[in-house]
Protein backbone atom coordinates (compact mmCIF):
# COMPACT_ATOMS: atom_id res chain seq x y z
CA UNK A 1 0.00 0.00 0.00
CA UNK A 2 1.23 3.49 -0.79
CA UNK A 3 2.38 5.07 2.50
CA UNK A 4 1.45 8.53 1.23
CA UNK A 5 -2.09 9.75 0.86
CA UNK A 6 -2.28 12.94 -1.20
CA UNK A 7 -5.44 14.83 -2.00
CA UNK A 8 -7.08 18.03 -3.11
CA UNK A 9 -10.50 18.53 -1.53
CA UNK A 10 -13.10 20.71 -3.21
CA UNK A 11 -14.69 22.86 -0.51
CA UNK A 12 -17.99 22.79 -2.37
CA UNK A 13 -18.22 19.04 -1.89
CA UNK A 14 -16.25 18.02 1.15
CA UNK A 15 -14.09 19.20 3.96
CA UNK A 16 -10.66 18.32 5.27
CA UNK A 17 -10.74 15.65 7.94
CA UNK A 18 -7.94 15.51 10.54
CA UNK A 19 -9.35 12.24 11.90
CA UNK A 20 -8.89 10.60 8.49
CA UNK A 21 -5.34 11.95 8.40
CA UNK A 22 -4.53 10.49 11.82
CA UNK A 23 -6.12 7.18 10.87
CA UNK A 24 -4.11 6.98 7.65
CA UNK A 25 -0.70 7.56 9.26
CA UNK A 26 -1.37 5.25 12.21
CA UNK A 27 0.56 1.98 12.31
CA UNK A 28 1.24 -0.58 15.04
CA UNK A 29 4.97 0.14 14.60
CA UNK A 30 4.59 3.89 15.01
CA UNK A 31 4.81 5.63 18.38
CA UNK A 32 4.64 9.20 17.12
CA UNK A 33 2.17 11.12 14.97
CA UNK A 34 2.36 14.82 14.28
CA UNK A 35 -0.51 16.64 12.62
CA UNK A 36 -0.50 20.17 11.30
CA UNK A 37 -3.79 21.93 10.58
CA UNK A 38 -3.97 25.26 8.77
CA UNK A 39 -7.20 27.20 9.33
CA UNK A 40 -8.60 30.40 7.86
CA UNK A 41 -7.95 33.23 10.33
CA UNK A 42 -10.22 36.21 10.93
CA UNK A 43 -7.44 38.76 10.57
CA UNK A 44 -4.44 39.10 8.26
CA UNK A 45 -2.02 42.00 8.14
CA UNK A 46 -4.53 43.94 10.19
CA UNK A 47 -7.47 43.42 7.80
CA UNK A 48 -10.62 41.65 8.85
CA UNK A 49 -10.97 38.50 6.75
CA UNK A 50 -14.32 36.81 6.10
CA UNK A 51 -13.06 34.07 3.80
CA UNK A 52 -10.38 32.77 1.48
CA UNK A 53 -10.65 31.31 -2.00
CA UNK A 54 -7.98 28.81 -2.92
CA UNK A 55 -7.11 28.18 -6.55
CA UNK A 56 -5.06 25.08 -7.37
CA UNK A 57 -3.49 23.55 -10.44
CA UNK A 58 -4.64 20.15 -9.20
CA UNK A 59 -2.58 17.80 -11.34
CA UNK A 60 0.70 19.59 -10.74
CA UNK A 61 -0.13 20.10 -7.06
CA UNK A 62 -0.67 16.37 -6.59
CA UNK A 63 2.51 15.54 -8.49
CA UNK A 64 4.31 18.07 -6.28
CA UNK A 65 2.87 16.51 -3.11
CA UNK A 66 4.23 13.15 -4.30
CA UNK A 67 7.67 14.66 -4.84
CA UNK A 68 7.61 16.30 -1.43
CA UNK A 69 6.58 12.99 0.14
CA UNK A 70 9.40 11.20 -1.67
CA UNK A 71 11.89 13.76 -0.36
CA UNK A 72 10.56 13.30 3.17
CA UNK A 73 10.92 9.54 2.79
CA UNK A 74 14.52 9.98 1.61
CA UNK A 75 15.26 12.23 4.56
CA UNK A 76 13.42 10.43 7.35
CA UNK A 77 13.64 6.84 6.21
CA UNK A 78 11.22 4.20 5.04
CA UNK A 79 9.22 4.03 8.27
CA UNK A 80 7.10 7.06 7.50
CA UNK A 81 3.47 7.51 6.52
CA UNK A 82 2.32 10.88 5.24
CA UNK A 83 -1.06 12.45 4.61
CA UNK A 84 -1.17 15.70 2.64
CA UNK A 85 -4.51 17.34 1.91
CA UNK A 86 -5.25 20.86 0.70
CA UNK A 87 -8.62 22.52 0.24
CA UNK A 88 -9.71 24.21 -2.97
CA UNK A 89 -12.45 26.78 -3.49
CA UNK A 90 -14.11 29.15 -1.08
CA UNK A 91 -13.54 28.77 2.65
CA UNK A 92 -14.95 30.70 5.61
CA UNK A 93 -13.10 31.73 8.77
CA UNK A 94 -12.36 28.61 10.80
CA UNK A 95 -12.49 26.26 7.82
CA UNK A 96 -9.49 24.03 7.31
CA UNK A 97 -7.18 24.93 4.43
CA UNK A 98 -4.55 22.24 4.83
CA UNK A 99 -3.99 19.09 6.88
CA UNK A 100 -0.61 17.35 7.05
CA UNK A 101 0.03 14.25 9.15
CA UNK A 102 3.22 12.27 9.62
CA UNK A 103 3.50 8.94 11.43
CA UNK A 104 6.88 7.45 12.41
CA UNK A 105 8.30 5.05 15.01
CA UNK A 106 9.62 7.94 17.16
CA UNK A 107 8.36 11.45 17.74
CA UNK A 108 11.34 13.45 16.51
CA UNK A 109 10.95 12.25 12.93
CA UNK A 110 7.19 12.82 13.03
CA UNK A 111 7.61 16.47 14.04
CA UNK A 112 10.39 17.10 11.56
CA UNK A 113 8.68 15.37 8.64
CA UNK A 114 5.41 17.21 9.27
CA UNK A 115 7.21 20.54 9.43
CA UNK A 116 9.27 19.84 6.34
CA UNK A 117 6.14 18.91 4.38
CA UNK A 118 4.07 21.96 5.32
CA UNK A 119 6.96 24.29 4.50
CA UNK A 120 7.41 22.63 1.13
CA UNK A 121 3.68 22.68 0.39
CA UNK A 122 3.50 26.38 1.21
CA UNK A 123 6.57 27.35 -0.79
CA UNK A 124 6.37 25.07 -3.81
CA UNK A 125 2.84 23.91 -4.50
CA UNK A 126 0.81 25.57 -7.27
CA UNK A 127 -1.78 26.98 -4.88
CA UNK A 128 -3.04 30.56 -4.76
CA UNK A 129 -4.92 32.33 -1.99
CA UNK A 130 -7.38 35.16 -2.46
CA UNK A 131 -8.45 36.84 0.76
CA UNK A 132 -11.94 38.30 1.06
CA UNK A 133 -12.32 41.17 3.50
CA UNK A 134 -15.27 42.41 5.49
CA UNK A 135 -15.24 45.65 3.47
CA UNK A 136 -16.01 43.71 0.26
CA UNK A 137 -12.50 43.90 -1.17
CA UNK A 138 -10.63 40.78 -2.30
CA UNK A 139 -6.87 40.47 -2.78
CA UNK A 140 -4.66 37.70 -4.12
CA UNK A 141 -1.75 37.08 -1.76
CA UNK A 142 1.67 38.02 -3.07
CA UNK A 143 3.23 34.64 -2.49
CA UNK A 144 6.43 32.96 -3.37
CA UNK A 145 7.76 32.89 -6.94
CA UNK A 146 8.49 29.50 -8.49
CA UNK A 147 10.82 30.98 -11.11
CA UNK A 148 14.07 30.56 -9.16
CA UNK A 149 15.81 27.43 -8.12
CA UNK A 150 13.73 24.73 -6.56
CA UNK A 151 13.50 24.49 -2.84
CA UNK A 152 16.45 23.96 -0.63
CA UNK A 153 14.33 25.37 2.17
CA UNK A 154 12.90 22.15 3.49
CA UNK A 155 12.92 21.83 7.21
CA UNK A 156 13.88 25.49 7.58
CA UNK A 157 11.55 27.00 10.11
CA UNK A 158 9.92 30.12 8.79
CA UNK A 159 12.57 32.09 6.93
CA UNK A 160 12.29 32.03 3.16
CA UNK A 161 13.95 34.64 1.01
CA UNK A 162 13.63 36.99 3.93
CA UNK A 163 9.86 36.78 4.19
CA UNK A 164 7.51 34.57 6.13
CA UNK A 165 4.08 33.37 5.15
Amino acid sequence: MNPHHLLVVDAAQDRLDPAAAIEFVSDPAFGGIDVFIGRVRDLNHGREVIGISYDLFDALALNGFAQIAARAQAQFGPHLKLYIAHAKGRLAVGDLAVVIAAGTPHRDEAFRACRMVIEAVKHESPIWKQEHYVDGDSVWSEGCSLCGEVADHDDQPQAHDGHTH
Binding site: G38, Y54, D55, L56, F57, A59, L60, N63, H86, A97, V98, I118, V121, K122, H123, E124, S125, P126, I127, W128, K129, Q130, W140, S141, E142, G143, C144, S145, L146, C147, V150, H165
Partner: protein
Protein backbone atom coordinates in the same frame (compact mmCIF):
# COMPACT_ATOMS: atom_id res chain seq x y z
CA UNK B 1 1.92 25.06 -33.23
CA UNK B 2 -1.06 26.05 -31.11
CA UNK B 3 -0.33 26.28 -27.39
CA UNK B 4 -3.22 26.14 -24.95
CA UNK B 5 -2.39 28.27 -21.92
CA UNK B 6 -4.13 28.06 -18.52
CA UNK B 7 -4.01 30.95 -16.10
CA UNK B 8 -4.16 30.65 -12.31
CA UNK B 9 -4.53 32.84 -9.25
CA UNK B 10 -4.44 36.57 -9.89
CA UNK B 11 -4.15 35.96 -13.65
CA UNK B 12 -7.37 33.94 -13.95
CA UNK B 13 -9.48 36.98 -14.64
CA UNK B 14 -7.20 38.25 -17.44
CA UNK B 15 -8.80 35.99 -20.05
CA UNK B 16 -12.30 34.53 -20.42
CA UNK B 17 -12.30 31.06 -18.91
CA UNK B 18 -8.76 31.73 -17.67
CA UNK B 19 -7.42 30.35 -20.94
CA UNK B 20 -5.84 31.60 -24.10
CA UNK B 21 -4.28 30.13 -27.19
CA UNK B 22 -1.07 31.34 -28.78
CA UNK B 23 0.19 30.15 -32.16
CA UNK B 24 3.96 29.65 -32.11
CA UNK B 25 6.49 28.45 -34.69
CA UNK B 26 7.10 24.68 -34.65
CA UNK B 27 10.57 25.04 -33.15
CA UNK B 28 9.48 27.38 -30.36
CA UNK B 29 10.48 26.45 -26.82
CA UNK B 30 9.69 27.77 -23.35
CA UNK B 31 11.76 30.93 -23.93
CA UNK B 32 9.79 31.82 -27.06
CA UNK B 33 6.46 31.03 -25.40
CA UNK B 34 7.32 33.30 -22.51
CA UNK B 35 8.17 36.14 -24.93
CA UNK B 36 4.95 35.68 -26.90
CA UNK B 37 2.90 35.55 -23.73
CA UNK B 38 4.49 38.74 -22.44
CA UNK B 39 3.78 40.52 -25.74
CA UNK B 40 0.15 39.37 -25.57
CA UNK B 41 -0.20 40.46 -21.95
CA UNK B 42 1.32 43.86 -22.53
CA UNK B 43 -1.24 44.63 -25.20
CA UNK B 44 -4.29 42.93 -23.61
CA UNK B 45 -3.95 42.86 -19.82
CA UNK B 46 -3.94 45.59 -17.18
CA UNK B 47 -0.36 46.70 -16.54
CA UNK B 48 -0.05 45.25 -13.01
CA UNK B 49 -1.14 41.83 -14.28
CA UNK B 50 1.21 41.95 -17.26
CA UNK B 51 4.11 42.88 -15.01
CA UNK B 52 3.25 39.98 -12.71
CA UNK B 53 4.29 37.67 -15.57
CA UNK B 54 7.93 38.39 -14.76
CA UNK B 55 7.48 36.47 -11.50
CA UNK B 56 5.43 33.65 -13.01
CA UNK B 57 6.67 30.16 -13.71
CA UNK B 58 5.49 28.04 -16.63
CA UNK B 59 4.62 24.41 -16.06
CA UNK B 60 2.91 21.36 -17.40
CA UNK B 61 1.05 18.87 -15.21
CA UNK B 62 4.29 17.24 -14.12
CA UNK B 63 6.81 19.97 -13.45
CA UNK B 64 8.05 23.54 -13.84
CA UNK B 65 9.32 24.34 -17.33
CA UNK B 66 12.62 26.24 -17.50
CA UNK B 67 13.80 28.67 -20.16
CA UNK B 68 15.44 26.68 -22.91
CA UNK B 69 13.23 23.62 -22.30
CA UNK B 70 11.13 22.29 -25.15
CA UNK B 71 7.39 22.83 -24.93
CA UNK B 72 5.41 19.85 -23.64
CA UNK B 73 4.14 17.41 -26.23
CA UNK B 74 0.47 17.99 -25.57
CA UNK B 75 0.83 21.73 -26.13
CA UNK B 76 -0.76 22.61 -22.80
CA UNK B 77 1.07 25.03 -20.52
CA UNK B 78 0.08 26.60 -17.22
CA UNK B 79 1.13 30.04 -16.00
CA UNK B 80 1.85 30.00 -12.27
CA UNK B 81 1.96 33.27 -10.34
CA UNK B 82 3.89 33.30 -7.05
CA UNK B 83 2.26 30.68 -4.83
CA UNK B 84 0.56 31.13 -1.47
CA UNK B 85 -0.81 27.79 -0.32
CA UNK B 86 -1.36 26.55 3.19
Amino acid sequence: MMIEISLFGALRECEPGARLQLDLPGDAGVTELRAALLAHAQSHWPAPRASLLGKCALADERSILRDGDALPGGGRVAVLPPVSGG
